[in-house]
Symmetry: C2
Subunit: 450 residues, 2 copies
């Protein structure tokens, strides 16, 4: 016999116990169901791609974090997001796709970041994107927040706000004040305002050579507090001085006006002019989603509008808008804060326990339960009464059906409600009715409590 | 602007167009649903693991095929199956699990095989295993084929047979004829009988030094043709000469007797004594599943009973039984043979098309449809009537709801059935009823025709 190797899982790689996995899968299913309900098609792309493809655009930070290696002559990289593979896919399959192309993808991505609390090296992203061929209507930008709202709502998360901005407003504003050339740096600094505070942002802007008056004006515009219409009014005062800026205001107003029509209540979305989304490629609307009492977790769902999805793979103009939910991180945040209501719903609803040597009746009973769409396990091990029942208890299976000689002789079953501790002997069809009734009483949608 | 990089996907990596992805996901969901219905819990393990863990047991062939690399100081391997990660998981979480532990896992695995037709380097496996703590009842072996049957049945695949054997019968027989020491070699050669034929197996057995009489006897036993009970009777003639052999017959008879009770009709399973499953670690029942008219594809679902799942990670005895469906390969086989009935069911059921500038009514209409669990997309682009309708047509969306000024003024919708080419103007609630009725008329379970 060989040496025993201590079993371990790599740090930064999530691996759940069965009950947590059930909850994780339920959250994942909610996302899938909502995305489908809004008319998105599923997509699955390889986890491994040619490095030349995945790194066409990548800069220094990305390159440092990636898992890249050679196998034979091939230089391979594990995907670090779902956007680059989408860009490749759309460019590759352009002539077979129908535009606007709406796809969702939920899959694992890999980043070799330094392992720390809440940081994962392997994690799920759950993305949707809408890609136009040459052009894409602005109202798509207004639909996206309604999808975020619908998902959080289905998950029972109530305490969140979607912050919205438009990069054209920022770019136009910077341009107005002669900052066009270092717009990217200014954007990157502004983006940190939540983390480092207004004063530090001001001093960092001064450090890159922005004069004090400009800094003051820009910061006073961006940190203006008010309702969405008040912010819009304030911005209007700067209208007519820069084309990009004016276009930005128009888009921002149109999008925020429509978001409510798309079913998102006023309290759940807000213009926030400090939201910049560091990524270069956003060109219009940008979104971030925060859990209200926990700004420290940052945005749990972000995205925006871009002009050119696949410029590295095709000359076609493919504008799009999309969001990404960090599913692994969201699950981690929820469980860390005991947001997950532990009234875990067992995917296995019935344990059929035979107490006779011949288990034929148990097998028939289980088949009938399964045909009624009741998930059923038969206990097929030897053992005493107590051992068998303890198994159902440990697995938190809500119902046991006991089949002894008496039950079989009378053509009945004994149904034990494990939560209530009650037991009764009845016809199988009556037992099935009781099990289904109990299932419908569960407030099945509400799995998370905040 | 940078150079255009031709977008490509690595050879051996499956990437589907949206309609095929929908069918793939449907097959995957059928597997998940069936596994859950039989009382299996979901599991998700990392794709990357410490090489020391994954390769604890691996031999030469595995080592050659794996994707293995270093990141910093860590020697990493991409998983090549779902069994080794399960072994690690069970050993690691032993004290938190309830035994028998029933888990399913559907996930991608990686093998750097030479790319050839029907061979994938990244592919999905869909596994179930039942793991006991110290012992595991033999009836679990009889339940497994009923799960295979249920899945293939749900997929509309009718033309298959599950072949069953027991390694103890083989080992006992070899032992009886003095072949204990080269049982593994003998097993490996016998396993090829479907591929290379009886005569070649005989000559290969002779090559490793098995004498002619023994070869003839063994081959005549193993290739005996008859019903399950005739095979059992034939084997009984050899009883009393070897303990392992006798135990094997007892298990094989008990398992095959029960398989029918578990709901698998006689035509769908068959004792086949030539099934050996090359893998060392099977110790009892073994299964293979063949599509009847296509033996050339080999087994599409295989597995068996093993004594020790996790011997490399724990001293505990963890016997189990399980199967693995090669999901990517199954999908490939089905589509290559036009088995997939292309009456593809669109996950998006309705396209709401506004013909007014204000899309508020379209948005409200879509919300009501979605609240009735009807997947709905709103067409949010500008364009002429024809362009908008063509979009719905190209996406094969079964219904379009048209909203012009007239419909809005009358508080009605125009419902266009895209398959039948009919159109009528009616209340939204009546339209919803029609859409739901049409959905229920679809023979939704039958997605595959053989």
């Amino acid at each position: 016999m060989s040496e025993i190797i201590t079993p371990r899982t790599l740090s930064g790689f999530m691996e759940l116990l069965p009950k947590d996995q059930v909850i994780f899968d339920k959250i994942r299913n909610t996302l899938e169901k909502t995305y489908t309900n809004y008319g998105f098609f599923p997509l699955d792309t390889p986890i491994l791609e040619d490095s030349k493809i995945l790194l066409a655009k990548a800069g220094g930070e990305t390159e440092k974090q990636i898992y890249r290696f050679n196998k034979g002559d091939t230089d391979l990289t594990m995907r670090f997001d779902l956007t680059v593979p989408l860009a490749k896919y759309v460019a590759k399959n352009y002539s077979d796709l129908v535009f606007p192309f709406r796809r969702y993808q939920i899959g694992k991505v890999y980043r070799g970041e330094r392992a720390q609390k809440g940081r994962f090296r392997e994690f799920y992203q759950a993305d949707i994107d809408i890609i136009g061929d040459g052009e894409l209507g602005i109202l798509n930008d207004a639909e996206i927040p309604s999808i975020i709202y619908s998902i959080f709502n289905s998950l029972g998360i109530d305490n969140f706000v979607i912050r919205i901005n438009n990069r054209k407003v920022l770019n136009g504003l910077f341009d107005m004040y002669g900052l066009k050339d270092n717009a990217t740096d200014v954007m990157r600094i502004i983006d940190k305002i939540d983390k480092i505070g207004v004063e530090n942002v001001k001093s960092e802007l001064a450090d890159i050579g922005v004069d004090k008056d400009t800094v003051d004006t820009i910061i006073s515009v961006l940190t203006f507090k008010g309702s969405n219409s008040e912010v819009a009014n304030m911005l209007s005062e700067y209208k007519g001085r820069n084309e990009i800026f004016d276009k930005g205001i128009e888009e921002l107003v149109q999008v925020t006006d429509y978001i409510e029509k798309f079913g998102v209540p006023k309290d759940y979305f807000k213009i926030d002019l400090t939201i910049a989304r560091g990524l270069d490629y956003y060109t219009g609307t940008v979104y971030e989603t925060f859990i209200k009492d926990h700004p420290e977790y940052g945005s749990v769902c972000s995205g925006g509008r871009y002009d050119n999805l696949a410029e590295y793979y095709t000359k076609k103009s493919l504008p799009g808008v999309g969001i990404s939910i960090g599913l692994t991180r969201l699950f981690h945040v929820l469980s860390e804060n005991e947001f997950l209501n532990r009234t875990f719903e067992n995917p296995v609803e019935v344990l059929v326990i035979p107490f006779t040597e011949d288990v034929s009746v148990a097998v028939e009973t289980a088949s009938k339960l399964r045909n009624s769409n009741i998930s059923t396990q038969i206990y097929l091990e030897d053992g005493k009464f107590k051992k068998k029942l303890t198994y159902g208890n440990k697995l938190s299976i809500p119902f046991c059906i006991l089949l002894g000689e008496d039950e079989i002789a009378e053509n009945k079953v004994s149904l034990k409600n494990m939560n209530e501790g009650t037991q009764e002997t009845l016809d199988l069809s009556a037992a099935i009715d009781k099990i289904l009734a109990a299932r419908n009483n569960l407030c099945s949608e509400r799995i998370v409590n905040m």
